[in-house]
Each structure stands twice: as structure tokens, then as C-alpha cells.
């Protein structure tokens, strides 16, 4: 049986966010709601990365004269920056296409677009 450490308990809200986002994405009736849901999942994934990086401690990983004892792991945090940018780019492209599609069907409902 898996025991619940404080690190795992901290992840529970993020997993709940992912589930909410997936539920929204699978049940959305219009393009804009899918966009919001995708953004929710994106944010939850990024938060998971940040929380896992901070599992060793939350202090800033800067080397100075007085070294911190419990600093967070900088490697996942640095890597997740690119994921943030990519998520933003995806959102921008999706918004642009929603704008184009909205000229013909302003409500952006899947029911009208999928015909």
C-alpha cells in the first residue's frame, strides 16, 4: 500500500485540477470552453513540476557565502519554463483560429462546426 507522505498530499489538488480540466475538455460544447480546459490542464502540469522540484525544500537555489540547507531543485524548474512558453504559444494559435472560425459561426459550437 502506498503511504501518504506530505509531498504526495501536496500533489492532490493538482491531480484534482487535471481531472477537472480533462472533464471539461471532454464535455465542452464550444471551442472556447475547450481552450479554458486545456489551459487548466497546462497550469496543473506546470504546478506539478514546480511542486516536485520543491520537494527538497523551498529555498532559492543561489550559491552565496551562506549556503542554504534546503534549496529546491533548479533543474525541473528551468525545464518547465519552455513548457510554459509552449503552452502560451498553443493558446495563442488556438485563439487565432477561434477568431477565424468565429466569423462564420459566432457561437463557436462544436455542433455547428462538425457538420
Amino acid at each position: 500500500m502506498m503511504e501518504l507522505t506530505p509531498e504526495k498530499i501536496r500533489l492532490i489538488p493538482m491531480v484534482a485540477l487535471i481531472i477537472i480540466g480533462c472533464f471539461g475538455l471532454l464535455n465542452s460544447k464550444s471551442i472556447l470552453r475547450s481552450l479554458f480546459s486545456l489551459d487548466v490542464i497546462d497550469t496543473a502540469t506546470i504546478s506539478i513540476f514546480v511542486l516536485i522540484a520543491a520537494s527538497g525544500g523551498a529555498q532559492t537555489p543561489i550559491v552565496s557565502e551562506s549556503r542554504y540547507s534546503q534549496y529546491s531543485d533548479p533543474y525541473p524548474q528551468a525545464i518547465i519554463l519552455t513548457a510554459i512558453v509552449i503552452g502560451f504559444a498553443t493558446q495563442a494559435l488556438l485563439c487565432a483560429i477561434a477568431l477565424r472560425l468565429g466569423r462564420q459561426s459566432p457561437m463557436l459550437r462544436y455542433r455547428n462546426l462538425e457538420k
Binding site: L25, T45, A83, I86, L93, Q104, Y110, L113
Partner: protein, 512 residues
Amino acid sequence: MDSQILLPALIFLPAALGFLGCVLPRIVFPVSVAMLLAYAFLSQNLIGSGVSYVFTLVGEGGIQFSIDLYTFPLVFGSSITLLICFGLFYRRFSHYFYQVCLVLFTALLIAFSTIDLVSMFIALELVGFAAFLLIADRSDKKSLFHAFQYLIGGGLAMLIYLIGVVQAFTYTGSFLLTDLVRAPETALCLIVAGLLTKSGVFLCGLWVPNIYSHANCQSSAVLSGCVTCAGIAPIARMSQILIPIGDSMVVIGVVSAVVAAIYAVFERESGRALGWSSVSQLGIAILSPTYACAYAMQHGICKALLFSTLHTKDRSKLSDDSISHSHNQLAKTPSLPVEEFIRVIVFVVASLSIMGFPYLSGFITKNWVKTDLPYEAKIIYTTASLLTSTVYARLIFDRVSNFIDHQQPQTGLALRRISRNIIDVLSTPRLWILLVSIIALISFSFVDTTLYSTPSIRSAIVSAILGGILFISVVGIQADEFVKPITRTLDLVGAPFLVAALLLANLLYLKI
């Protein structure tokens, strides 16, 4: 020069050229063609040599690249695909299109060569953006909506992949692909589901037929030739080092090969049938980790040729209200009968190559994959190749009958002008590209002459003939009622979850 500098420079050269093309659009075309030729030549020389370079990009803890036997065939295939598209559609492309293709090529090079999971994520997202731009180039409502579906489905799949990566990181402490041996099963399932969605294997790859039929034919050629190959290299690497994943890939590949081929048999529209057949072929490709890349290369080149020659040229229909970025002058130039004839020949040869006909390159790759399979999978594999033969028998029949119908009224006129016609045709580069591609498809079949035993040749010919017979027997079935295009966004978005769950069940309990 030091390979530490040279190889990253080679990887990032196409993107640099693409961005340079924004400033100097005139020189991009010749330079990019020369560069692609150089890449094709280099990688073709290195395919069988077993050379591998491993290097780390920025010192300690940097991004690891491994240029090895998985990389070279795919690089060769993508550069040849891009060359074919550049050559055959050079009048339809705006310089915007070249830039997207060149950036796509860099993303593909990274995806083929990196063994770092996060760099793989970035490369696959970049491939996804470039593919999105290629699909949306047609800019009518249908293609825009399908591009939207592709982007939202691909984005979600990549987020699933990222969650798997971070879970693997908590167990292994690194982002390397080789360290996935110590990762838990759930992480592996999430990663594989993301990769399968990007490479367009069945159930995750439901977006493939929609997009191929609704994009411009030059975009479809690029998409089928390069974009779906991006996920193949990491899947092959993973199934090489992880035995449970390799076994699951055999199941997924066999299911994909058969089910997608059945969909393709009952599909009426040629573009969608080619899309379904692409799903089926990539399912075959992931069966064997050793030859996956060679198979994907051969399939990509043949699919690019097929999409390039699928339509007669003056039938390029574009709705008037659409604002297309690409020029569409080709519709105004009259179609030359001789060139049209050669296009039909290329179509037939490429179809036969995918069917695995002897003395064509498809025969070699098909037999390579076959030698690598467990016995139980071989029977289903043969079924899949039979269904593939049926699909291509129908496509060849459609294309040839379309050609004959089209040419009938003007035959007399054409015969009178035929000498002038030939001279006209010989002066265009398109014809030379088509001829060279036919010769290349035939000459590549002599790479491994040990495969030409009597049983293998006989089985290939029998499979082709049976495919033809099967086509004649199913041609009358009106299948429109039970094979409907899958266009709902829910199906496309939900498929990765389903595949991840099934894989997890397989890895934990079923253990097929």
C-alpha cells in the same frame, strides 16, 4: 571540425535558413534544395554503416543527443519527401511555405536524434505547430476546424506525455530516455500514449484521415511523409530497451494495421483512404524496433509521391472565398497528357511499392519487418498486408480510370501535338523528379538481395493478386452507412486517455 560544434550546427541550419528566408525570400529556394540534397546524401551514406555519435549540447547536465541507426533513415526519408514536395509544387508554394517546411525539418532532426525526454517534448510540439500551419494554409472552414482539432488533441497528448515524464523523473532523477528502465508503469503508459498520438497510430491517430483529406495536397504530402515519422524514433528506442513496452507495441501495431486497413477498404474518398492506410502502415512500422525507422522512411517517401500525384492537376479546386497564402497558378496552366501519364505511372509504382510488390523498395522493408516478428503476429501481419493490397488495388483502379476518362475526348488532339508536348515536358523539372523517384524506388530494392527467395516473391505476388480479387468482390458493397468519418472532437481528444488506460491494464495485469 569538432563534431561537438558541427552536429548542432547541422541540426539548426534548416531553421536558420528558414528564418533567413523571411528577409531574403529569393535565395531560399535554391539554397534549401541544395541543403536538403546534402542532408539526403549524407544520411544515405551513413544508413548502413552503424556509425553513431553521442554528444551533450551544453556541457555537464546538458541535453543529450544520439545520432545513430534510428536517425539516418528518417532523416533521409524526410529530406527526400521535402525535396519531392518542393520540386513538384514549386509554383504553388509561397516563401511562407518554405519557411514552415524548413523549421519543421529542424524540429524533425531534433526529434529523431535527441534522447532527452523534455527536448523530445519541445521538438514534438514544434512539429505540431508546423503541421498546424501547413494544414491551416488552405484556410477554408473545414481545414481550419480540423487544424484546430489537431492542435488541441496534440496539445493534450503532449501534456499527458509531460505528466508521464515528471512521474518518471521522481523515480529516476533524470530526463534521459535510457533511464526509463527504472520508471514505474504508469509513467511509461502516459509517455507512450503521447508519442502514439503524435505518430498517428490507430485509436490515437483518428485525426490522420480527416486532416489528409482536408489539407492542400502539398501539405498532405509533407504531413504524411515527415510529421508522422516524428514519433516513430522515440517509440523504436523505447521498445528496444523496455521489453514490456516492446511486447505491447506488437499488440497495438497489429490492431492498428488490421483495423485501419479495414476502414481504408470501405472508404470511398481517395484522400481519406490514403490517410487510413497511413495509420495502418505506421502500425506495421512500430511492430519491429530494429526496422521501424526504415519502414517509416519507405512509407513516407511513397506516401509523399502518392499524395503528389493523386489528383489530376487542373482539378485543384479551391473555393473562391478562401484566402490562401499559397499561389494557385498551377490550375491555369494546361495539363500536358504526357506528364499526366507519367504521374499515373508514378502513382501506380508507389502504390505497388507500399503493397510490397517484388523488385520495389517496399518489398525489402516489409520482409525486414516480417523477419523480426513473433510467429503469432505473422498471421495477422499477412492479413494486414492483404487488406493493404485491396486498398491500393482500388486506388490504382480509381486513378487509372479517372485518367482514361479524362483523356478520352482529347486523344486525337493530343496525338497530333505529342512531339511538341514531349519537348515541353522534358524542359520541366517535375518530370525529372518523377522519373528519378521511379528509378530510385526500383533501385533501392536491390539493397538486400538475400531476401529474394522464391517463397517470399511468391507470397508477395499472391498477396497482390488476392488483394485485387478481394477488391473486385467488395467493390459493390455500399459501405457509406457503417463507415462514417470520425469528426467529433470528443473522440479525437479522448483517445489518448483510453490508450493509456489500456496500456496500463496490459502492463500490470494482462501481460500480453
